[in-house]
Symmetry: C2
Subunit: 636 residues, 2 copies
């Protein structure tokens, strides 16, 4: 179902193939390693078990308020796998989980273990802290994905009944009229449910939740008064953020959403809200929502985005700091926030037709998202710092396990992000070898994409059709491009660039071959001088890949390295890891003693500095690491 007010529509999973040497192996790892590993964690960690509603007060293993969301994201990820290939074991495991969810659903449609067995009778009384609608949102997303993947309605029916209950509770005269969630998520899920079912009231509910947010009188105060106690987290979060007004920013309730101009607070919450706002703009054509999204985007991209596409400078709120506060070693950059950014950026690029959003999508995907998962698919980063003293490693699992299944569902649904259609033809947002299929001009058209991206900026597109077709191809020109060259059947052609896309509008003969060279070369990236944390330092980038130096490749001395200002950045392929590396000449400084302060200058020895893709770090044991490397100032 296409959105009425969106410029573009993504191709569905079955119409896209990914057959490249970069993502296809990662996705196979997700299918064969991550999903079984996560299923094991959910079975042994209590998440599956809790759905039996057998927990009793005083017994160990009290169900946690987040747990449905872990199960739901795992089902959603598994569904995307099932959408493209048969996997009877996975299908059966998903059916088992759905049966458990069915058993946990109450007669009136309610489905939340914590408020059924731990705090019965208190449902929807702690919207600010208790993640009830957040869990509901993930269940809804899972139900939609499962239905689209398998055609089954088992989970979709469950979540529709639950959504119907929520609609009543949050509708006129309901117990939560005027309310909204403390952790955004359900809004974007309800838009998906609307698209899957055509039921307008799900869209209206999403819109109501977004419209209510941040209005006066302040719902969370009223809720707290009615309850007579602090919420689930007590004053923990308020104490962390120190002031009540900051705490309202924490969950983006400080202002009505259309009046919000700065990206603030908890980064995942923010991304999910903004994604929903873009979705709602796409469905309703509400230009005030689009404008709010554009303002928030500009603030984020202009002042608060890590070069890796990570978001959230502050550990204590898992969220945004002030403008330009982007500490590398002490930063946060939660994996889920980068995933949320991919989602928001996709909605924005579809909504507006502008490539700049897909540029950021790509930055996050290849760096701050992919760094969240180990090469073997079974260890995860919750935070993704841009420098490490060697103490940081990925973990098998987390008490709050939002990131692992979130990674799985994004990587398993990567098809959604590559191509889009508009009335004139096909848009290529990401360069990933494989193919796209679309119906256009009365025939089925297939666009085959061959490339060694992200290591090589050359892309060959072959148009396959039964007969000639009038079609506009829009090929994203990445923000890192040195300038493209393009040939059609071997003849160089001039192209126009609009909104960041190369436009190729013509009548295509079947078999036409388009060779696009995006112009990729390794480069130094510098942050704005207001970013005090990395002043005088450079990051190395080639194509979409941000590099980092790890101690294991550099005699353990990453902080001691300085790049020579004029030294060439040499790309070398490392056959053991199958990754490209960057090597550059520099110096390594060695201090003469252990004193805290000294007037002795350190000894500087020439050295070759080797950097590996940031996403690949911490796969070879503990090691120091830095994305930002010192470089001599020009002019010396």
């Amino acid at each position: 179902m296409s959105s009425h007010h969106s410029r573009r529509t993504p191709l569905p999973i079955p119409d896209v193939t990914i057959e490249d040497a970069f993502w296809a192996p990662h996705r196979e790892t997700v299918r064969t390693k991550s999903l079984p590993h996560q299923e094991h964690q959910l079975r042994t960690g209590g998440q599956f078990e809790a759905l039996k509603l057998e927990w009793k007060p005083g017994v160990a293993g009290e169900p946690h308020i987040f747990w449905e969301s872990d199960v739901a994201k795992w089902i959603e990820a598994a569904s995307y796998v099932l959408a493209r290939e048969e996997d009877p074991d996975l299908d059966a495991a998903v059916d088992e989980a759905i049966a458990l969810l069915s058993g946990a659903q109450q007669d009136d449609g309610y489905l939340n273990v914590y408020f059924t067995v731990v705090k019965p009778g208190q449902r929807f009384t702690d919207l600010r802290d208790a993640h009830e609608l957040y869990c509901a949102g993930h269940l809804i997303e899972a139900g939609v994905a499962h239905h689209e993947a398998t055609g089954k309605t088992t989970l979709l029916d469950i979540v529709r009944r639950y959504a119907d209950l929520i609609d009543r509770e949050f509708g006129p005269g309901g117990s939560c009229e005027g309310g909204y969630d403390g952790h955004e998520e359900i809004e974007l899920a309800l838009v998906k449910l609307y698209r899957a079912t055509g039921e307008r009231r799900y869209l209206d509910l999403a819109l109501r939740l977004v419209d209510n947010r941040g209005t006066q009188p302040y719902y969370f105060d009223a809720e707290c008064e009615r309850r007579g106690t602090e919420g689930y987290f007590g004053t923990f979060l308020q104490d962390r953020v120190r002031r009540v007004d900051w705490f309202r920013q924490y969950n983006q309730t400080h202002l009505p959403v259309r009046e919000q101009t700065e990206t603030v607070g908890h980064a995942v919450r923010a991304m999910y809200l903004y994604t929903a706002m873009a979705d709602l703009a796409a469905e309703t054509g509400d230009a005030t929502l689009t404008a709010a999204c554009e303002r928030l985007w500009d603030d984020m991209v202009g002042t608060k985005l890590y070069v890796t596409g990570g978001l959230g400078a502050l550990h204590e709120i898992e969220g945004f700091g002030p403008a330009y506060h982007l500490p590398d070693r002490d930063g946060y950059a939660e994996t889920c926030a980068a995933i949320g950014l991919v989602m928001w950026a996709q909605r924005m690029t579809l909504l507006t037709g502008e490539a700049k959003y897909a540029d950021v999508l790509e930055r996050a995907l290849y760096n701050g998202v992919l760094s969240g998962i180990s090469a073997d698919g079974t260890r995860y980063f919750y935070g993704n710092p841009l420098a490490s003293d060697g103490s940081v490693e990925r973990s098998e699992w987390f008490g709050c396990a939002c990131c692992p299944p979130n990674l799985a569902r994004l990587l398993a649904s990567l098809e959604h992000y590559i191509y889009a259609t508009d009335p004139t033809g096909l848009v290529v947002n990401l360069y990933i070898a494989g193919s796209a299929r679309l119906e256009h001009g009365g025939q089925t058209i297939r666009l085959a994409q061959a490339t060694d991206y992200p290591w090589d900026g050359r892309v060959r597109l072959t148009l396959e059709a039964d007969h000639d077709t009038d079609l506009t191809l829009k090929l994203r020109l990445p923000d890192w491009s040195d300038g493209p060259t393009l040939t059609i059947d071997g003849t160089e052609v001039d192209t126009t660039i609009e909104d960041g896309y190369l436009h190729l509008a013509r009548t295509w003969a079947p078999g036409t071959v388009i060779d696009l060279d995006l112009g990729m070369s390794p480069k130094r990236v510098r942050a704005n001088q207001k970013v005090a944390a990395v002043l005088g330092k450079v990051a190395l980038q080639n194509g979409p890949i941000i590099y980092c130096a790890e101690g294991i490749d550099n005699a353990g001395a990453v902080p001691a390295l300085t790049i020579r200002p004029d030294a060439e950045l040499r790309i070398e392929h490392d056959s053991s890891s199958n990754l490209d590396t960057v090597t550059v000449e520099g110096v390594c400084e060695r201090q003469s003693g252990d004193a805290l302060y000294s007037t002795d200058a350190p000894k500087a020895e020439p050295t070759s500095i080797r950097a590996v893709p940031y996403f690949s770090w911490a796969n070879r044991g503990k090691s120091t690491m830095a994305v930002w490397l010192r470089e001599t100032a020009a002019g010396h």
Copy 2:
């Protein structure tokens, strides 16, 4: 009264004069501006008024738990002024404050407004949070100082009665047997009271409080259980430090003091505790206390001391971070912590006879302490960051106003820190023009000191006596010295250096002139490579003075500056401020746009970088500032 087990004894205030061009004006400002300004704050802020015990529940102006300490430190500072000069107005104001304190004292000796009118009946039940003994300690220090300065016993009698009550409550069978304070201070005060009165039980009480600290069963847990509620700060501080064991480190109760090896927690608390430990070692000869102090000192100086002598990297606990975590812009470095360091360092240098402690004393005094007060004496820094984005200014006062009167009492008692005696003669720890008087070998000896220190490392000492004297002079050789030269009556002499002092043992004729050139030149200082925050940067130092660049002198662009590696550091005197400055050639980088990230190299223009003494920053309006300046790595 000299301490039995201390190597040295400081000269009393009346035997020392300060007649230099650096400190004398600062001290005159304290007398004529700071003390009246602080008195005004105490009169209008409620601190004086509260002592009338007229506050009633429900009325505004509830007395605060810290307030006696503000009054006490102001009295102490005023007393030091009165010790050296007559000031009838000040004397009368002090007498008025003492009369108020006398009126607030209860029949049994108790003296604390908060627990008399706000929480009557709850005295000594919240030792962890409520600062009761901390306030008592400051009252005792004030009583001793006032008695020594004026000969009056009005306040001394008051604090003795209070100390006697505390001794009973914390003694065998008392209500607080086994207890100790949550904010250390009274321990060092009781040692002063012992020295002033000769009453051994005050020393024993101090020792008991120190010995009890951190033992099992844990007193603060037992106290909390008895009380049945959280302490004054609730869970605020625990939440900030996140874990219970860290919270025990916060007030240095994680281990018995002799087992503590790392400087941890709230920095002022730590300094006051360690000062008391050194005092007790000096009185009792307990080598285990000396050894603990030495271990803690080495940890602090080796891993946690700012180059300015500031202490405490973490805002959230006003205290120490992990080793080598010394952020410049986001650091804390509370003025009171640097003052506490001066106190501890003095005790250590007296106790051990080693100059290295006085080196750190000097570093703190000329930088991290003096930065706490404005040139006009009426504005104060609570924290003293080593870099600023231009948003930081000194304040007239604080809700928690510990720093202003603490600065006043230290600067007003600077005489204590310059000279010390030992059985062989006189020790010079600080170079400050003026004089010292001592009885030695049956006659009064006066050592006149002439110098333009800290701007000039040349010092002339003239020995004045009635006849020849055998005496050893020990002159501290600062850690920044390039190597000293010394002449006696114009003849260069070789000297031996022991424990960091030049030793001159001889028979001196009256009028002998010693010319000492300490060897002062401006230099670059680098931090250990483990200090990630300032890697690749240098600080500029000349003599004891640490310099900083302010935006106002550098076209507003401090973060954009880079020093040329081989450029000369030129000392220039600024006649408008009467301060020395350092000028060095470097470059100023200008980025081409406002983007958060760019591949464009910044334009680098040659520039002269001007740095001013760190202590003098923020006296000319808001400005960016940095102590640590980027420098090109050697070898480029």
